[in-house]
């Protein structure tokens, strides 16, 4: 146990560097190394998860310096859950990228993937606020590379918007950290929590400013309305597998909100319910706007992007209460929406590739593998919209149940249920346009005389150039792998629904650990006899 805790950060850093330095010209070697290291990270995540599930909190003091001075990595149930979720998603989506040939479309795909994982894992593990900023930058700089993977003018333009928005977000993060340091005198999250608890309640102006600034930073990361403007264009233009991995990246913002506002600024601290009061209305608007976007957009990639905005809104509604029931429901929906959102992005990528890169919702001839792709799209849409039997339905039930005690419950229930209907309409419209009506344009097989005279609607490009910025179906390494990995994500949501009972029990324990931050604080600040 002692040194396993740093492995999720060190392993990808080492492997990513090796890939850049030694095997940049050999894609096969990169693929093998990439998958093996992702599997190793998954193995480490499983070990750590097994340790954390006992309810103990593990502290890893870097350089063995004593707590408020040195940087600590922390492992509790929530961090272990996030690590495991990231690792599973990374392996599956990486297999998709290999199977579909996306990783051949540009340089250093697998190396950037590793650095992305390093940043994600570090952000989940760290117990130091400034270190959280550093890991945010690590994951962002890897994501800047991934988001423009494959190139193309639209993707690069979207990339510039994305990077500008996030640079402003990083500046805001530093401002928040400066404010918090000025008012508490520490950057260690546990120490900060202990000091906030001792603050006089009549002198909290600076502290509140810091808390709200921090909330804004995480809201930018999680794409909460009105700070969501970077998301639709970026996700819609990013390569499919990258957008699928980003399903976990927007959850980093949610994770950070949960971590900070249960540990440092809980609702009974001197800043009172400042976070809940801001998050709940924002979440409701985010959900509504996301689902209206799903219905209103005319591009299928953008539809997936709006669905991911809506899912963030949905999971923040119960989380905003920061109580056991709310956290349980929110975390359940977070696991669900990560898997379902990623699956939706992968299916959409498959559809666009088979339509010659045309992502607009308009009538085109029937695509290749239409049966398999439409089944996957149908399942992903069911999961995302929250219909039974997949886990979205149970997630929404848990959320409705958890918000029953809220004074706003009529508003919350109406919003969730009404927006679900909007999403269902949006997805059915897209599905029928993409898969059903397309048969109208197909040449009639029984009537040979017409053949050749009918003007064929829109040609599908014969063969894409290898440097085209979209997936190349004719030339993919293993198309079955792409189908299998998308199916695996959807099977994950089915399993989540089947084992909803045990999973909710497990998440309730996690939520209980979060609502009682005292052991977390003590494990950092006490028990440090052997440190420098």
């Amino acid at each position: 146990m002692t040194h396993w805790l740093i492995a999720p950060v060190l392993l990808p850093a080492l492997m990513g560097s090796l890939m850049v330095l030694w095997m940049r010209h050999d894609l096969l070697l990169q693929r093998v190394f990439g998958i093996v290291s992702s599997l190793l990270i998954l193995g480490v995540a499983l070990i750590l998860h097994h340790d954390a599930i006992s309810g103990d909190i593990y502290v890893y003091r870097l350089g063995n310096w004593s707590a408020p001075f040195g940087i600590v990595l922390m492992l509790d149930r929530l961090a272990a859950l996030m690590l495991l979720l990231t690792a599973v998603l990374a392996v599956v989506v990486q297999l998709y990228a290999i199977g579909s040939g996306w990783d051949r479309k540009g340089w250093h795909f697998h190396a950037l993937w590793m650095f992305q994982l390093m940043g994600l894992n570090g952000a989940f593990l760290t117990g130091d606020a400034f270190n959280l900023f550093v890991f945010f930058e690590v994951l962002l700089i890897a994501s800047y590379g991934l988001v423009i993977h494959g190139g193309g003018p639209m993707r690069l333009r979207a990339g510039v918007q994305y990077i500008s928005y996030n640079l402003a977000g990083s500046a805001l993060f530093l401002a928040a950290l400066g404010t918090l340091y000025a008012s508490t005198g520490t950057l260690n999250m546990a120490d900060m929590a202990a000091r906030v608890a001792m603050m006089p309640p009549d002198d909290t102006a600076l502290l509140r400013t810091g808390a709200v600034l921090l909330l804004l930073v995480f809201a930018v990361k999680a794409a909460i309305v009105p700070l969501h403007f970077w998301l639709p264009s970026t996700y819609a233009n990013a390569p499919g597998p990258v957008a699928a991995l980003f399903a976990i990246m927007s959850k980093v913002g949610v994770y950070a909100i949960v971590r900070f506002f249960t540990l440092v600024f809980p609702n009974d601290s001197v800043v009172e319910t400042i976070a809940s009061d801001l998050i709940l209305p924002a979440a409701l608007i985010t959900l509504t706007l996301g689902q209206i976007g799903v219905l209103g957009t005319r591009s299928v990639t953008r539809m997936a992007a709006f669905a991911s905005i809506a899912s963030i809104g949905t999971l923040l509604i119960p989380l905003a209460h920061f109580n056991t029931a709310g956290l349980t429901a929110g975390l359940y929906y977070m696991i669900h929406s990560t898997l379902a959102g990623a699956a939706l992005f992968l299916v959409v990528d498959m559809i666009c590739a088979r339509r010659g890169g045309d992502h607009w919702l308009r009538l085109r001839p029937t695509i290749r593998n239409t049966g398999a792709v439409s089944v996957l799209f149908f399942l992903a849409a069911i999961a995302t919209a929250g219909l039974p039997p997949l886990s979205g339905f149970i997630g929404k039930l848990l959320i409705l149940d958890a918000t029953w005690t809220d004074p706003w419950r009529i508003g919350i229930w109406t919003t969730i249920l009404a927006t679900s209907v909007i999403a269902i309409i949006g997805f059915s419209r897209a599905g029928s346009l993409l898969f059903w009506k397309s048969h109208e344009l197909d040449p009639d097989p029984g009537n040979d005389t017409d053949e050749g005279q009918r003007p064929k609607p829109g040609p599908i490009p014969v063969k894409l150039e290898t440097d085209e910025p979209i997936q190349d179906v004719d030339d993919s390494a293993a198309p079955w792998l792409a189908f299998a990995s998308t199916g695996a994500l959807l099977a994950g949501t089915a399993l989540l629904a089947i084992f909803a009972g045990p999973v909710t029990e497990y998440l309730r324990d996690t939520a209980n650990q979060l609502t009682d931050p005292q052991p977390y604080i003590e494990s950092v600040l006490m028990q440090q006899e052997d440190t420098k």
Binding site: I148, T179, K456
Partner: protein, 134 residues
């Protein structure tokens, strides 16, 4: 001195926000750089403003004079922030150049094609394009 530093940070930040809200990448990059300066100065003063004192304790044991000392942590934070900000600026410059070369102009906004459905090309259109290029 507090007023001087605070107004300097405020002025830099205002200029940065003005530049970031421009529609061209060059102005936005300048604004980002300016914003990094403002934030770095802000971080630096978050350990309180003191003049002429080293960021290290002097003397030893009982003789340590804690009044002759300035907080070293913000200085370390600023150093990290400068390095990260510098790297990020380099990335955004490269990315903007790429977008300028591929996209043809340096607008920050996405072109119309990102929002509006372009008309479907028919077989005749593609043939015409192929003939023209050939």
């Amino acid at each position: 001195m507090e007023i001087l530093v605070a107004s300097a940070i405020g002025a830099m930040m205002a200029a940065a926000i003005y530049l970031i809200l421009r529609l061209r990448t060059f102005a936005v990059i300048l604004g980002m750089t300016m914003m990094t300066y403002a934030i770095n100065a802000f971080l630096f003063v978050s350990g309180r403003l003191v003049v002429n004192r080293p960021p290290i304790l002097q003397g030893s044991g009982e003789a340590v004079d804690v009044t002759m000392y300035t907080d070293p942590i913000p200085q370390a934070l600023v150093l990290t922030a400068i390095v990260i900000g510098f790297g990020m600026t380099a990335v955004v410059v490269m990315m903007s150049l790429g977008a300028f070369i591929e996209g043809g102009d340096d607008h920050i906004n996405m072109p119309q094609d990102d929002r509006e459905m372009p008309p479907l090309k028919t077989v005749e259109d593609t043939k015409k394009i192929e003939e023209e290029t050939a």
